[in-house]
Amino acid sequence: MSDPIKLSLAEARDALKAKKISAVELTQAYVDEVEAGAGLNAYVLPTAEHALNMAKASDAKLARGEGGALEGLPLGVKDLFCTEGVRTTACSHILVGFVPPYESHVTSNLWRDGAVMLGKLNNDEFAMGSSNETSYYGSVINPWRRAGDTTPLVPGGSSGGSSAAVAARMCLAATATDTGGSIRQPAAFTGTVGIKPTYGRCSRWGIVAFASSLDQAGPITRDVRDAAIMLGSMAGYDPQDATSVDRPVPDYELALGQSLKGLSVGIPKEYRVDGMSSEIDALWDKGIEWLKAAGAVIKEVSLPHTKYALPTYYIVAPAECSSNLARYDGVRYGLRVEGSDITDMYEKTRAEGFGDEVRRRVLMGTYVLSAGYYDAYYLKAQKVRSLIAHDFIKAFADVDVLLTPTAPSAAFGIGENSDDPLAMYLNDVFTVTVNLAGLPGISVPAGLSSQGLPLGLQLIGRTFDEETLFKAAYAIEEAAGVQPAPAAWWKA
């Protein structure tokens, strides 16, 4: 095969089954790409030898006419997923050298289905960030650049290693996680597809916890079909996660290409926020026209509490993070800085181990949960969260799916937004509501900006109605036409 890395996940799967290529050949091609793209800093730990051994085992299975749904397909894994015997740090200094003795449920599903692991992918420290600039291992560089400009851009975050690696063809697909937009915003910034499924669809067991009532795993892929295949493998009930939902995983691929005739699409009027670029506005209108042309019925809907979603998130998420991150004490795993007594040891370890953004959120969360402030901040935010979720229930009584932009802008430059935490938080203005309400959301590439950067549209669905998202996202993908891949300047 002339250039195997051009194949999508679905195409590579079919080529392997037809014996047009072997898993070892395919994996070797990706191992070479990972090496050639080292300058993008998408991988924090490539595992080439491990990958080739897995590929050999896949070839043996394929030769016997056996093999799972992902047999022999090389993937990248966000460093938030615990991988047995392979260093996992959540890209934090505090987890330095941590080698999990167990495998996350999501990744064990992938290996059960025959997938090959190329390595661990960079992310914002503990998934806290929207640009991948808070990683202990440094920023990831977006494979996309503005036309005629070599300024390095962010790949979005927190799953910036996943989005960059998929966009740069350094893996067929990647796992990611999304607490406030961390799958969908990086997908939009890199011209890839990212789906955050309904809360409970994927098990959180073995994923380093950030905010447990918001965290969900999902894939980042090159196209909608690949996302459907990946989610089909990643999802499923797991008794080890008490919030995992016990219901069958549908064959999501079957939803692709289904007619949109009569599908009712809501356009939330509150998402036309002040200061949104005219380009994003125009992209949204284009998406509306595409769905209309495909037979959908468009309706304006109202989600009146939208403007309160980000402030609610920045109480709930830090509160849960301050509690989850209490486990990093220098005793059981990771970094330890000795002190004069046990408290001094804790304090020095956590001061040295956490980066600025993580420290900010732990302090914020500690404050809103502390005596005297709990009701004013945390309880209040939980009540507003109820109202936000209720807005969606009302809207979904009237429509089947919602269409919005994924992010308020295209990818920005490294360092451009890092001085102002609030400006950075605004990146999640269209995605965070979905996590608060526990709903599924998908970002699909919808064209390029005037500067030649990818832009994404987001579809939001009812709980456990990922199939409608795949169906509508596939229609947008078809209407948008073949999207270009970024020029491979990093190999020069």
Binding site: V99, P101, Y102, T198, Y199, G200, S213, L214, P239, A242, T243, V245, D246, Y308, P311, T312, Y314, S322, V331, R332, Y333, G334, L335, R336, E338, G339, S340, D341, I342, T343, D344, M345, E347, K348, R350, A351, F354, R359, R360, L363, M364, T366, Y367, S370, Y373, Y377, L379, K380, A381, Q382, K383, V384, R385, S386, L387, A389, P421, L422, A437, G438
Partner: protein, 95 residues
């Protein structure tokens, strides 16, 4: 409500994160910036609204009261810094 440097010192203590005195002012400013932004939730009438404590409404599943795992001392302590012979080690706590 706004936080002063003493409050930052207090919450850093609660969070068990050592903070240097010369960092207190900048941290107080950052936290106040975020807090004054989240204050806008005060505009929302939440009288009689139940707090949302989980993302998806579900009934907790029951399981059989049975031991399904255990005897993992080696695995559990394998990553402990300063760990010794299958134990976690901490600075002396009891005089």
């Amino acid at each position: 409500m706004s936080v002063d440097q003493n409050t930052v010192r207090h919450i850093a203590r609660l969070a068990r994160i050592a903070v240097r005195d010369d960092e207190l002012e900048a941290l107080a400013n950052e936290l106040n910036g975020i807090l004054s932004w989240v204050e806008q939730l005060g505009e929302v009438d939440t009288d009689g609204v139940e707090p949302m404590t989980g993302a998806v409404e579900m009934v907790m599943k029951w399981r059989e009261d049975k031991v399904t795992t255990g005897n993992l001392q080696k695995e559990v302590t394998a990553n402990a810094p300063g760990g010794d012979d299958g134990f976690f080690v901490v600075p002396k706590v009891v005089e």
